[in-house]
């Protein structure tokens, strides 16, 4: 990893989301250490405050990693998370960070390869973006 590698925060739901992270590790994949996984019980636990906090603390991009629609462990309506996601994206636009710094990924259970694809693809995208405008001095 180069020192400039973008900081990516992944909020991973404990169920299918984290299972993909585990599967990637078991399958022997490697990814840069600048990818930070934060485990939460469910993506519905995440609100815009926490996502913005990640950006404030220096994240260059955030991935919400959760179950495929209909597979939520808690049977939470997918719309709930989507709503929060859309809202946060518009705030990111307002702040000048750009909505594309926040993505949501719904992966099938234990899809280590899909996780790697998502992560490496997102890193490339974030690298091509303009540097994030510091929100806070």
């Amino acid at each position: 990893m180069s020192k400039q590698a973008p900081n990516i925060v992944i909020f991973a739901c404990n169920w299918d989301g984290l299972s993909c992270v585990e599967a990637a590790s078991q399958a022997g994949y490697c990814y840069p250490a600048s990818v930070k996984v934060v485990r939460v019980s469910c993506l519905s636990r995440i609100h815009q405050g926490l996502i913005l906090k990640a950006f404030e603390l220096g994240a260059d991009g955030v991935i919400l990693l959760g179950c495929e629609p209909g597979n939520c462990h808690f049977d939470i309506d997918a719309g709930l998370v989507t709503h929060e996601y859309e809202n946060t994206r518009s705030i990111l636009n307002l702040l000048g960070l750009g909505e594309e710094r926040l993505v949501i990924a719904h992966l099938a259970h234990g899809d280590g390869y899909g996780f790697m694809k998502q992560v490496t693809g997102f890193i490339t995208e974030v690298e091509q973006m303009q540097p994030a405008i510091p929100v806070k001095a």
Partner: protein
């Protein structure tokens, strides 16, 4: 004494049955022929259940394997079942796994060390993995312990007369482990440098690679190992040197004598070798020319053998200089005669006694030892064996003229090693095939020529070669001034002066038992060329080793024959044709260019393989035997979990009843004690249930059936056995390990003594992460009292050690950096067997120490494993991850430990087949059951005759016999109360009935019932109303495939079970699905008590402003009215599943989650994004 029940099977269903029984408090032995649960095939290659399904129900397997009442016997094949109900004896074969399931932590170090690569078909894809691997390579299993795939031994190893582990040393060499390779060779035999040069390599002749292109160049690799080992020759002893005082005399220092001396010395003897020549080595010194076997190589090997405590007396001929009698007088207790065959056979043709006619042995001896011996200008060597070839090549180096070989057969029949024949020709020696001498011509004194005749090959002789027959009239004469006769040798026994020794008159060989090598005189053994006639080095050494074994037995007065055989081990069955093997050229041995092999030069001809060629050559090995037994895995395992000596064993297991999923394939016929079976669930004799898997493998259906069967078996089992009425309380390790005995307790956190433990995971994490750096940095954090590393935190010892350190350092909080990623008592899809064991052991060890909070962080799968390509980054990140853990452990909120008792029986809402079947099962177990049929559908009761109707009527009848009545759906139904003590209020007009229940089953699939009930029938002021309200109905009844399986995989804490909505399922299927629900409900009732999840939320009524946002998304939250009239949200923590959606939505922060509070998530972000530094401390 038989106790508990046995479940036989490798399928997921077998695991489900075992878990069901265990949750009902029954001790279960789960016997599976495979290496882990859920794998159908013992070799773990293919699974009936797809790996996708396996991962979907992964927590179920994990819960089964880690349940304290379940003992899993893997690699166990049931042979017979005898006895009767209540007292069965199962006899089974436990096949070797070579890895202790209890000790292995699946850290993967052995896999890294293993150099064998096997390709398996996994889920239709070819995957390469090591011979030692997890039951499913690079995937999780329960148990997670590794497994070694071993076939029989490799053909090369089987062919080696010395039993050298050829595949093993080639494997080690492929990993660059030259010293280890030499060690492995020297386990079997000495003289590696000699064998690597002159061995006739039966290994290569049997190499399977030869069927693809050409054999692996094993001899060259053998030599490479001998020449490049850095540690020198270090023979390992089997017994302390000099521990045996008996004296042993070995006559002859050739390969047989040296090998015998070596083996005897390793066994603690100090044998003496008597050698008549001045040089040690027998034929190695006098027969094999120096340009093939340099003297230095021989010296080195001989010195190493001497160093073991072998005395070598040169220039002493036993029988002439010292008699056997003298030696016996001097205390020699046993003799090994290994005098070789040094007397040449004669051609028996005229002219053999002319001057200039010599024999090969004398010529080689003379030219090898005495440098100045003269050689003619026209040398003719007669013969086709190794000594003929060696004579010709040696003579060529001494002669300024021609050297020619006469051989009476063709090149194919030559007994000399092919490569050497090629070299001979390269060096300018010509070979006349199909030519035989008739007479040696001379001038009366000296030889002048040879009269020869041409031959042709005729009939096949006894030795398999075609007999050469003279062609009449083909005679011709060639010139010669020096004739070497090299047509074989015989032993020269006369020098021994031992008339008592039995000699074969025809051959002149000493007669010895082929197996024990004992001669006609007890205590006198003989082997090598003097017994077999001229043979090769490797066979002679093998005889030496065999003699040493016999002598050792003779001295210890043990049976010389017992357990020994001359039979070669059976090699593995390896079909080259079935494999897809790409061609690779065999390495070429670099050799001196011919101009350097000129007159007078005795420089070694072959130069040995260079490193890169040797490396490539090791890659050509096909590893036919899978595991090569190089034992590297045993060496690297820090836990001693690998043991190659594991043997198959017979085990006996007692059981009171048996559920068998295994005899599906017809195995049962071979098991006496079984009777035939024909239906899906067949009680073959009381106490044995044989389950056949359905044709269409619908996983959910199979799981349901397995639990239904287990419940039925359990019911019968308990009835007969008069169950002890102490329900087993499943040991659920506390999320917060600070659990105290008091029922309700707030453990307020506020200390400042945090201990950090780093798990090396057997070296797998510490090989990437620099632990010293992590320790140094983390130690700087204020409040950290100690940072220590531990080899295996998940082991029992590890947990005890952590506990002892925690006590010694007075820690109040612990951060364990290992592979667990949470401290919750849930088993989720990401969990592994070791993580569960880790939590259990730690929970157990820390319990006596009050109020220690533990936070787990994962530095394995989330750090070392995925950043192993950048160790520095991984070390940096490990520090961050630990700091995040430290930050979180400081912010753990006070948690409530509240236990609800589980009381009473079951309330069943909805009288479909599933509901009624569940009711019947529960009632049979003795639980009180109340049934309320569902709200009536328009159209009402189905009248026409159908299978459904018949089944339902029969169920109703049975329930009536059990005294259970069915109530109609009331005008109003309220269900409330904490889980385990539910309270239902049923209003029928003015009349109200109350029902108390520990568990509630809702059969929403009732055909005549109307689910969800219309909103007038239910109100949101109670739990049931909220669950069945149209907006949450779909969610709570979750009918997706995932949701259906989830019921089996995860543990239920709420105690409300909702059946499938599918009304069209065949009646018999609905019946067992109902029973499966009953099984889960029974397990719930069996617990005795239930406490909320650690991740459950609480709502602070003082902060709640009553907006109802939380209640809108969660049916478990109720909006209650306060005295002031303002609404307030309320939840029973035991009902909360812990998703945290309400926390995210609460505008006032009234809802708190003990784990993952906003503050904790923020701290985690701060640490991971490098905003917390060690020196500055954690906020």
């Amino acid at each position: 004494m038989a106790r508990g029940m046995a479940v036989i099977g490798s399928s997921v269903e077998a695991a489900q049955a075992a878990l069901t029984l265990a949750e009902l408090g029954i001790e279960v032995k789960l016997l599976t022929p495979s290496t882990a649960l859920g794998l159908e095939n013992p070799i773990s290659r293919t699974t009936d259940t797809s790996s996708e399904d396996l991962s979907r129900i992964w927590p179920l397997l994990l819960r089964t394997a880690s349940h304290p009442l379940v003992t899993v016997h893997t690699n166990t094949e049931v042979r017979t079942i005898t006895g009767k109900q209540g007292k069965f004896t199962i006899r089974a074969n436990r096949n070797p796994r070579y890895v202790h399931t209890d000790l292995c932590t699946s850290c993967g170090r052995c896999e890294e060390a293993c150099s064998v690569k096997v390709t398996s078909l996994l889920d239709g894809q070819k995957k390469a993995h090591s011979a030692i691997h997890a039951p499913i390579p690079s995937s999780r299993t329960a148990p997670s312990a590794y497994y070694i795939e071993k076939g029989a031994i490799a053909p090369c190893r089987a062919a080696c007369p010395l039993g050298i582990n050829v595949q093993g040393f080639v494997c080690l060499l492929s990993k660059g482990k030259v010293d280890e390779a030499l060690g492995l060779i020297n386990e079997a035999a000495p003289l590696a440098g000699v064998l690597g040069r002159v061995c006739t390599h039966p290994c290569e002749d049997n190499c399977k690679r030869g069927e693809v292109d050409s054999p692996v160049f094993i001899r060259a690799l053998h030599r490479y190992v001998a020449d490049h080992a850095t540690g020198g020759i270090d023979y390992r002893l089997k017994a302390p040197a000099g521990s045996r005082r008996e004296r042993i005399a070995i006559v002859g220092s050739g390969p047989a004598g040296l090998a015998a001396a070596w083996e005897l010395a390793r066994r603690g003897y100090r044998p003496t070798i008597f050698e008549s020549h001045a040089q040690v080595g027998g034929m190695l010194a006098t027969g094999i020319p120096r340009f093939r076997l340099p003297w230095e190589v021989r010296y080195r090997e001989v010195e190493a053998i001497k160093a073991l405590g072998v005395d070598i007396m040169t220039g002493v001929t036993v029988g002439r200089d010292v008699s056997f009698y003298d030696l016996m007088e001097r205390g020699y207790r046993a003799f090994f005669l290994a005098i070789g065959a040094h007397q040449n056979n004669k051609l028996n043709i005229p002219g053999e006694d002319l001057e200039g006619v010599v024999d090969a042995v004398s010529l080689l001896f003379a030219l090898n030892i005495h440098v100045g011996a003269a050689v003619g200008l026209n040398v003719v060597v007669i013969g086709g064996g190794n000594s003929a070839i060696d004579s010709a090549r040696t003579a060529k180096r001494r002669s300024k003229g021609e050297v020619k070989i006469l051989y009476r057969r063709t090149a194919d029949e030559m007994t000399a090693v092919k490569e050497e024949v090629e070299e001979t020709i390269n060096e300018g020696v010509s070979i006349e095939y199909l030519t035989s001498p008739v007479e040696i011509l001379g001038d009366g004194r000296k030889v002048t020529g040879i009269r020869c005749q041409r031959m042709e090959l005729g009939e096949i002789e006894a030795d398999g070669r075609r007999r050469p027959e003279p062609i009449p009239g083909s005679e011709f004469t060639i010139e010669a001034d020096h004739v070497v006769i090299a047509i074989g040798q015989r032993p020269n026994v006369s020098t021994l002066n031992a008339k008592w020794l039995d000699i074969d008159d025809a051959t002149g060989n000493i007669r010895a038992d082929p197996l024990t090598l004992e001669t006609n005189v007890p205590g006198v053994f003989s082997g090598g060329d003097c017994v077999t006639g001229p043979n090769n080095v490797v066979e002679a050494m093998a005889a030496g080793l065999r003699a040493a074994e016999s002598i050792d037995r003779y001295i210890r007065r043990r049976d010389l024959r017992k357990g020994r055989s001359l039979e070669k081990p059976k090699p593995v069955d390896f079909e080259v044709g079935e494999k897809d093997i790409s061609h690779h050229k065999r390495a070429r041995m670099p050799a001196l260019p011919p101009y350097k092999r000129r007159l007078g030069s005795f420089e070694e001809v072959t130069l040995g393989l260079p490193a890169d060629a040797a490396d490539r050559e090791t890659g050509r090995c096909l590893n036919c035997a899978l595991c090569s037994e190089c034992l590297e895995c045993e060496r690297v395992c820090e836990l001693g979990a690998v043991f190659h000596k594991d043997n198959a064993e017979q085990i006996e297991i007692g059981a009171e009843a048996i559920i068998d999923f295994e005899s599906n394939g017809g195995v049962s016929e071979s098991k006496p004690g079984y009777l035939a079976r024909d239906t899906q669930l067949h009680l073959t004799k009381p106490g044995i249930y044989i389950v056949q898997t359905g044709e269409n493998h619908d996983l959910e259906r199979e799981l349901a059936r397995a639990s239904a069967i287990a419940l039925e078996a359990a019911t019968k089992f308990e009835r007969k056995e008069e169950p002890q009425e102490t329900p087993y309380i499943a040991h659920t390790p506390g999320a917060d390990l600070a659990r105290t005995s008091e029922e309700k307790e707030l453990s307020v956190v506020g200390g400042e003594r945090i201990g950090v433990f780093l798990c090396r995971c057997g070296g797998s994490t510490s090989s990437v992460i620099d632990f010293n750096q992590v320790i140094n940095e983390v130690l700087q954090v204020p409040g950290i009292c100690n940072v220590q590393e531990i080899s295996q935190a998940c082991s029992e010892e590890g947990a005890n050690w952590i506990a002892s350190q925690a006590a010694e350092w007075k820690m109040d909080k612990i951060v364990l950096a290992a592979c667990r990623c949470c401290g919750l008592d849930q088993i989720c899809f990401s969990c592994t067997e070791r993580r569960v064991i880790c939590q259990e052991n730690l929970s157990y060890s820390l319990t006596p120490l009050n109020n220690i909070t533990v936070e787990f962080v994962n530095i394995g799968e989330q750090c070392a494993k995925v950043h192993r390509d950048h160790p520095e980054d991984a070390t940096r990140k490990a520090v961050d991850i630990i700091l995040a853990g430290v930050a979180r452990v400081r912010k753990v909120l006070p948690s409530i430990h509240e236990e609800h008792p589980v009381e009473g029986g079951a309330l069943i809402l909805g009288a479909g087949l599933r509901g009624l079947s569940a009711a019947r099962s529960l009632a049979t177990q003795g639980y009180s059951v109340d049934i309320v049929s569902g709200p009536e559908k328009s159209g009402g009761r189905e009248q026409k005759k159908s299978a459904y109707r018949d089944t339902k009527d029969s169920l109703l009848k049975q329930l009536e016999e059990q005294g259970i009545k069915i109530r109609p759906w009331p005008h109003a139904l309220k269900l409330d109360g904490p889980p385990g003590i539910y309270n239902a209020e049923l209003k029928y007009g003015s009349r109200t009935s109350r029902i108390k229940a520990g568990t509630v089953i809702i059969d929403v699939g009732e055909r005549e019932g109307e689910f969800p009930p219309d909103s007038t029938a239910t109100a949101k002021d109670n739990l049931l109303g909220r669950l069945l309200a149209p907006e949450s109905y779909r969610r709570t009844t979750g009918d997706t495939d995932t949701a259906k399986l989830r019921k089996y995989t995860l543990k239920e804490t709420g105690g409300i079970f909702i059946t499938s909505r599918d009304g069209e399922e065949p009646p018999e299927e609905q019946i067992f699905k109902g029973a499966a629900v009953a099984a889960r409900a029974s397990a719930y009732l069996c617990q005795g008590s239930v406490s909320p999840r650690a991740i459950a939320v609480t709502i602070d009524s003082k902060l709640c402003r009553g907006c109802g946002d939380c209640a809108a998304i969660c049916p478990y939250i109720e909006m209650k009215e306060r005295d002031s009239g303002i609404a307030c949200a309320f939840i029973d923590p035991a009902l909360c599943l812990g998703c945290g959606a309400c926390v995210a939505r609460c505008p006032t922060g009234a809802i708190a989650q003990f784990i993952q509070s906003d503050e904790q998530i923020t701290s985690t972000l701060e640490a991971l994004l490098g905003k917390i530094t060690c020196a500055a401390g954690v906020r």
